[in-house]
């Protein structure tokens, strides 16, 4: 400990004596560490943003779509034949233990009118459970209730985009809008969610009770009054998604009387699968950026090795003297190693500060979200120490192996 402190003192003095040279040497490490921190920050910021978007779609969300069926060898597109019903949704909610809630939905494009304004948007017929599934909250007013669904009440909930376009800044709650010539009372406005991962405006929507939507807006399919477009399902937890999917598949196959070996007449999709590709690519990007930044850290390390070699040569007589007065090889080795590590750690600390500042600037000016984790700071710090050890070892070894007689005679 005593010796280590002394070594650090000697190292700091040597660094101070050659101030400019040391600063320039450290610059390599400073840039390297700063680049690693900023780039990893940008990368994990992007990953976090994608995760946020996935969350905005709804947590633990599973979507059941009517599947394609074939009739006389002609395969029809998904939804061409009614295969999914409100009863399926109810059965899923009741019989699958891994499912928290399930709501049937129908959707279609509509023109919404209020006074002189009108707006084309998507209408969705849903039940109040939809709010839970999609993690919606209300900006103003109330969501419609189960009673509204049962009574096919003419009530609607607006997305923020629709509300702004029809009502500008005034509160739409209680106002009456016209959807396909049917008057609806606005019950409330949803808190905005922003863009979906695929770039769609998730707030450009109006939600209606599913019963009203089918009877008054889209018209009832005579073949099956209970048909629905999709069933939205929320699993009880993130780890229950696979289990819930299996339970639903078994249940629906049984309900639809599909024999073993026959294809499903429905499709179950879970959104995390869809977006995991995006998340993976963001992670690859952050690894790539980190790798590129590490290259500059290695270049910085080579700079340290270079300067340490110069320093060892310059101080040959000092090394000879130290050996003559009783320094062992490991004393000399540790002295120069400590000097290299001190140099790289000082550079690393400055680099962390610069890197933090850089990522703040990036998120401020480029509007990219960056996320600097304490872990990446710790990693950068340890990595710069490692660079010091790795690139300081060779010069230190060279010093330790000097012949004291030659070294003392060195001019």
């Amino acid at each position: 400990m005593n010796k280590l402190l002394a070594s650090i003192r000697i190292a700091l003095r040597a660094i101070r004596v050659n101030g400019t040279r040391s600063a320039l040497t450290m610059l390599g490490i400073i840039i390297g560490v700063a680049a690693v921190i900023a780039m990893v920050g940008v990368g994990s910021g992007a990953t976090a943003r994608i995760q946020e978007q996935i969350q905005s779609i709804g947590s633990n969300l599973i979507i059941v779509l009517p599947g394609s069926t074939s009739s006389n060898g002609v395969r029809l597109g998904s939804g061409a034949v009614v295969t999914l019903t409100e009863d399926d949704a109810k059965a899923i909610a009741e019989n699958c233990p891994s499912v928290a809630v399930a709501t049937p939905t129908v959707r279609g494009g509509v023109q919404v009118v209020f006074g002189n304004n009108n707006w084309a948007t998507i209408a969705q017929g849903v039940t109040p459970d939809y709010m839970t599934i999609r993690d919606y909250s209300m900006m103003s007013g109330q969501f419609f209730t189960t009673q509204d669904v049962d009574a096919a009440a003419k009530t609607a909930v607006l997305g923020e985009t629709v509300a702004t376009n029809l009502f500008a800044n005034s509160d739409p709650t209680g106002q009456v809008i016209i959807v396909k010539n049917v008057p609806f009372t606005v019950a409330g406005v949803l808190t905005p969610k922003g863009q979906s991962p695929s770039g769609q405006d998730q707030d450009d929507v109006i939600l209606l009770p599913i019963s009203t939507a089918k009877q008054k807006v889209f018209g009832v399919n005579k073949a099956n009054a209970k048909s629905v477009g999709t069933v939205m399902v929320q699993a009880v937890g993130p780890h229950a998604i696979d289990q819930a999917q299996q339970e639903m598949e078994a249940l629906l196959r049984e309900r639809h009387r599909i024999l073993p070996g026959q294809d499903d007449d429905f499709t179950i999709r879970n959104l995390t699968e869809v977006f995991s590709a995006q998340e993976t690519s963001a992670r690859v990007m952050s690894i790539l950026l980190g790798a590129i930044a590490s290259v500059s850290l290695i270049v910085g390390g080579i700079g340290i090795m270079n300067i340490m070699l110069v320093s060892v040569t310059e101080r040959t007589r000092e090394i000879g003297l130290r050996l003559a007065v009783g320094a062992k090889m490991r004393d000399i080795l540790s002295q120069f190693l400590v000097e290299a590590i001190t140099l790289s750690l000082l550079g690393g600390m400055v680099g962390i500060v610069v890197g933090l500042a850089a990522s703040l600037l990036i998120s401020h000016f480029a509007k990219w979200s960056t996320q600097v984790s304490p872990l990446s700071i710790l990693m950068a710090f340890l990595f710069s120490a490692l660079v010091g050890v790795f690139f300081g070892y060779y010069p230190a070894r060279k010093a330790a192996f000097m012949d004291p007689i030659e070294a003392l005679r060195y001019e």
Binding site: N2, K3, V17, G320, L321, A324, V325, G326, D331, I405
Partner: protein, 251 residues
Amino acid sequence: MPAVIEVKDLVKDYRLGEVPVHVLKGISFEIERGSFVAIMGPSGSGKSTLMNILGCLDRPTSGTYILDGVSVGELNRDELAEIRSEKVGFVFQQFNLLARTSAVENVELPLMYTNAPAHERRERALRALKAVGLEGLEEHQPSQLSGGQQQRVAIARSLVNNPKIILADEPTGALDSRTSIEIMAIFQRLNRESGITVIVVTHDPDVLVYADRKVQIKDGRLQLTEAITRRDAQKDLERLPAEEPERVAST
């Protein structure tokens, strides 16, 4: 008195490419504890090589060397370093002080490689500086000291670990004659008062006169070793015309 140094059939060969060079060709002598020896010889005689071996900086090719009861011929690098740390003090022609480092820190240097705690290092360094008459200059850096003062710092450094022998290689080679006598006076006093064995390697006959024994080397062989009557450097100094006492050089 028992011998502090016993050298027997000391041989040192170097290899210059394919050609072996015999530098020391079988040297035997003893140096008694507490003596003041001058090793003389023309350049190329092998006296530097002999000094390096005596100072445990180098190992003989063959022969035995016993320093203070320890046979050091077969020790490895780090063991030799330990012997140097415990038993040997060096004084060089070019002083070899660390630049930008205060006198007291320079003197502390050998203790950095022992287990002495910081306060003890400082205490012993201050005592050694006092012994060479440099009180008040402890915090001066080498560039602020005259040549004579720098060599005194170097002597203090060689003293600080209480060595059995002090090896001085041309200690007055870079100094004027008056300062040379001052340095020799310090060596004589240390030798007399502390009983440290002092070995001076020189080719300067003016230095020889302050030793009490002369070892003459020529062509790698011991030419002669004889006792001489030493002159008192302090008295010589008093006989010299009075001079401005040395000032601290620039500050």
